[in-house]
C-alpha cells in the first residue's frame, strides 16, 4: 500500500472526525501553536530587524549570530526546556519561537538595509524624519522580503509544531507520535498528509497577503523592469 492509500483510508474513517482526538480539534490546536509562536517571533524579530536595518549598525553580527542560531536542534531544545521548566506551554512555545525568529529577522534586516541609498537621500532631501523615512520609504520597499521572511517562518513552524506532541501536548503531531509508537502507519500517514495540506494552505495565504501588502508602485516597477 502506498503512503497516499494509507493516508486516505485513515482520513475517510468517520472516527477521525469525532471527539477529543478528532482532526478538527487537532487542527485547531496545531494552528494555535503555530499562530502564537509566529506572533511572538514577529514581535521580537520585526522591530529588531527594522532597527538594525535602518541604522545599519550591528547588522553583520546579528545576521551571523542568527544564522548560527538556526543550528539549534529544535527537539533538543524542547527536551531541555521540559527538563528545566517542566511541562508548561513554554515547552512547545520556546523551540518554535526560536525556530521562527531567524528567517523573519534576517529578511527584515536585509530588506531594510538593502533599500536604494538614492531613494533614502531623496526622502531626506524632502525633509523626512527618521520615523517617516522608515515607515514611508524603507518598510514599503522592503515589504516583499519581510513577507518572504514571515512566510518561511510560518512554513517552518507549521511543519515543526508536530513536536508539541512529544511531551504530551496536542496538535497534529499527536497522530505522528502516537501512530509511530503503536505501529499504526495509517495514522502516521494521515496526520502527515493533513500537515502537508495545511502547509500548502498557509503558503497560499501568504502569497495572497503579499499581494495586498506590496505597494502598487513597487509592483509596477517590477513589471516594467522585466
Amino acid at each position: 500500500m502506498s503512503f497516499l492509500a494509507f493516508a486516505w483510508d485513515w482520513l475517510k474513517s468517520p472516527q477521525q472526525w469525532q471527539g477529543q482526538d478528532s482532526i478538527q480539534v487537532r487542527l485547531l490546536q496545531h494552528l494555535g501553536y503555530t499562530g502564537v509562536s509566529l506572533l511572538i517571533a514577529a514581535l521580537i524579530a520585526l522591530p529588531l530587524g527594522l532597527l538594525i536595518g535602518h541604522y545599519r549598525r550591528g547588522g553583520f553580527a546579528v545576521v551571523n549570530v542568527t544564522n548560527i542560531w538556526r543550528a539549534v536542534p529544535t527537539l533538543g531544545l524542547l527536551i531541555l526546556v521540559v527538563v528545566s521548566f517542566g511541562l508548561t506551554f513554554l515547552s512547545w512555545l520556546t523551540p518554535l519561537v526560536v525556530l521562527a525568529i531567524p528567517p523573519v529577522l534576517v529578511n527584515t534586516y536585509e530588506g531594510v538595509a538593502g533599500v536604494d541609498p538614492e531613494l533614502k537621500d531623496a526622502a531626506r532631501g524632502m525633509g523626512m524624519t527618521d520615523w517617516q523615512l522608515l515607515w514611508k520609504v524603507e518598510v514599503p520597499v522592503a515589504i516583499p522580503l519581510i513577507m518572504l521572511g514571515l512566510r518561511t517562518a510560518a512554513i517552518f513552524v507549521v511543519a515543526t509544531a508536530t513536536i508539541a506532541a512529544q511531551p504530551g501536548f496536542g496538535g497534529l503531531g499527536r497522530y505522528i507520535i502516537d501512530g509511530l509508537a503503536s505501529n499504526n502507519y495509517g495514522e502516521v500517514a494521515g496526520g502527515a498528509a493533513v500537515i502537508v495540506v495545511l502547509a500548502l494552505v498557509i503558503q497560499a495565504v501568504f502569497v495572497g497577503l503579499r499581494r495586498l501588502a506590496v505597494p502598487t508602485g513597487l509592483r509596477l516597477q517590477a513589471r516594467s523592469s522585466r
Partner: protein, 316 residues
C-alpha cells in the same frame, strides 16, 4: 573526493591494506570460547558480551570480575549492540555469556507470541524454546521492567510504600492522570492491562516518553501522579519515587538472567553466576545503576563495590 596524502601513495597504501586484511582475518577466526578444550585453564575460558546500555555493561562487568577471581580465563567484549546484533554471536559461540532480561529475550527472540508473564512461566518457555547450544542459568530477583510508579508527594499523601500493590490505586484512579509512552493506550500490559488486572480507570492518560526525561519531569512536577517507569531508573532512588508491586504480573517478568553458550560452561562458571543471581535484587541493581549513571562512578568500581558488599568473589 578524499585524496590520499602524498606519503600514503603507492607502496604504503598496499602495505596498509595488507595489514588491515590481516587484522580483519585474525578477528574473524578467533573464537576461543566455542571450544572448551582450547581454554588454558581447567576452570574454563569465556567471552562475556553485553548490550550497548549502561546497566547491561555493568552486569557484564560484575560477571567478568567474579569469574576472573575464580580463575576463569575471561575475555570482555562489552557494548556489542542491540539484542538483534549480539544474539547471533552467542548462538554461534563467539560470545559465551550475556546478561539478559528473561521477558524480552522470550518475546523478542524466542517466541514472539508468548503470553507467559510470571518469572517461572517465562523461564519455562525460554528453556523449551532456546536452541540446544544455549541455556539460561538461574534468574535473579532483580528486574528491569515496566512498572506503575508514583511520586514521593503522592505516595506520602496516600500512604503508599514500595510494598503497596498497584491494586491500592483502584480507589484513587478516577482522579489520577497516568503518564507513559504514547503506545500505552493500546499496549496490552499498559492502560488496558491495568484496567483488566487491577480495575484501574484513570481520569486521563498523558502521552510522554519511554521512561525518559519527560516522564521523570512530569512525575516530579505533579503533571502526572503515576507513570510507567522502568524499575531501575535512577530517579526512583534520587527522587524517592515509589514503585508499586505488580502481584498479577501485568507487566511481564524481566529478571536479570545469564544467557550462556552451553559448550563453554564449566561447573565453576555456572556456580559463580548462580551465586551472583542469588544476591542480585532490583534495589541493589538500582543502587549500582545510580552510582554509574548519576554519580559517574566507573563500571569497574561500582561492580567491585557491589561484589564486596555481597561477599562475592571479585569484590574490592
Amino acid at each position: 573526493m578524499l585524496r590520499p596524502s602524498p606519503t600514503l601513495r603507492g607502496g604504503a597504501v598496499i602495505a596498509l591494506a595488507a595489514t588491515a586484511s590481516l587484522v580483519l582475518a585474525a578477528c574473524g577466526s578467533s573464537s576461543p570460547s566455542s571450544n572448551p578444550l582450547s581454554g588454558g585453564s581447567s576452570n574454563g575460558s569465556v567471552v562475556i558480551g553485553s548490550a550497548n546500555f549502561p546497566e547491561n555493561e555493568l552486569l557484564a562487568e560484575i560477571y567478568s570480575l567474579a569469574l576472573k577471581a575464580k580463575g576463569v580465563k575471561v575475555t570482555d567484549k562489552f557494548n556489542i549492540g542491540s539484542r538483534e546484533v549480539y544474539y547471533p554471536e552467542i548462538k554461534k559461540g563467539t560470545v559465551s555469556i550475556i546478561p539478559e532480561y528473561n521477558g524480552t529475550l522470550l518475546t523478542v527472540i524466542v517466541d514472539k507470541n508468548s503470553t507467559a508473564a510470571s518469572t517461572t512461566d517465562v523461564n519455562a518457555a525460554l528453556t523449551a524454546g532456546l536452541p540446544s547450544t544455549l541455556e539460561i542459568l538461574n534468574s535473579s530477583s532483580a528486574q528491569d521492567s515496566d512498572s506503575v510508579t508514583v511520586s514521593q508527594a503522592f505516595a506520602t499523601a496516600h500512604h503508599l510504600t514500595s510494598s503497596s500493590s498497584i491494586a491500592d490505586l483502584a480507589p484513587l484512579a478516577s482522579s489520577l492522570v497516568f503518564g507513559g509512552p504514547p503506545e500505552c493506550t493500546t499496549r496490552s500490559d499498559c492502560v488496558p492491562g491495568l484496567k483488566k488486572n487491577y480495575g484501574l480507570t484513570f481520569k486521563s492518560f498523558s502521552p510522554l516518553d519511554e521512561s525518559g526525561p519527560i516522564t521523570i519531569k512530569a512525575l516530579q512536577d505533579g503533571t502526572v501522579q503515576a507513570a510507567d517507569v522502568f524499575t531501575t531508573t535512577p530517579q526512583i532512588a534520587t527522587d524517592h519515587f515509589v514503585t508499586l508491586q505488580d502481584p498479577k504480573f501485568d507487566f511481564a517478568a524481566e529478571n536479570v538472567t545469564p544467557l550462556v553458550y552451553k559448550p563453554a560452561m564449566t561447573s565453576t562458571i555456572t556456580d559463580t553466576l548462580n551465586a551472583i543471581s542469588a544476591k542480585l535484587t532490583t534495589a541493589g541493581l538500582l543502587q549500582i545503576d545510580t552510582a554509574v549513571i548519576v554519580n559517574h562512578d566507573s563500571y569497574q568500581a561500582a561492580a567491585q563495590a557491589w561484589l564486596k558488599a555481597e561477599g562475592l568473589p571479585g569484590g574490592a
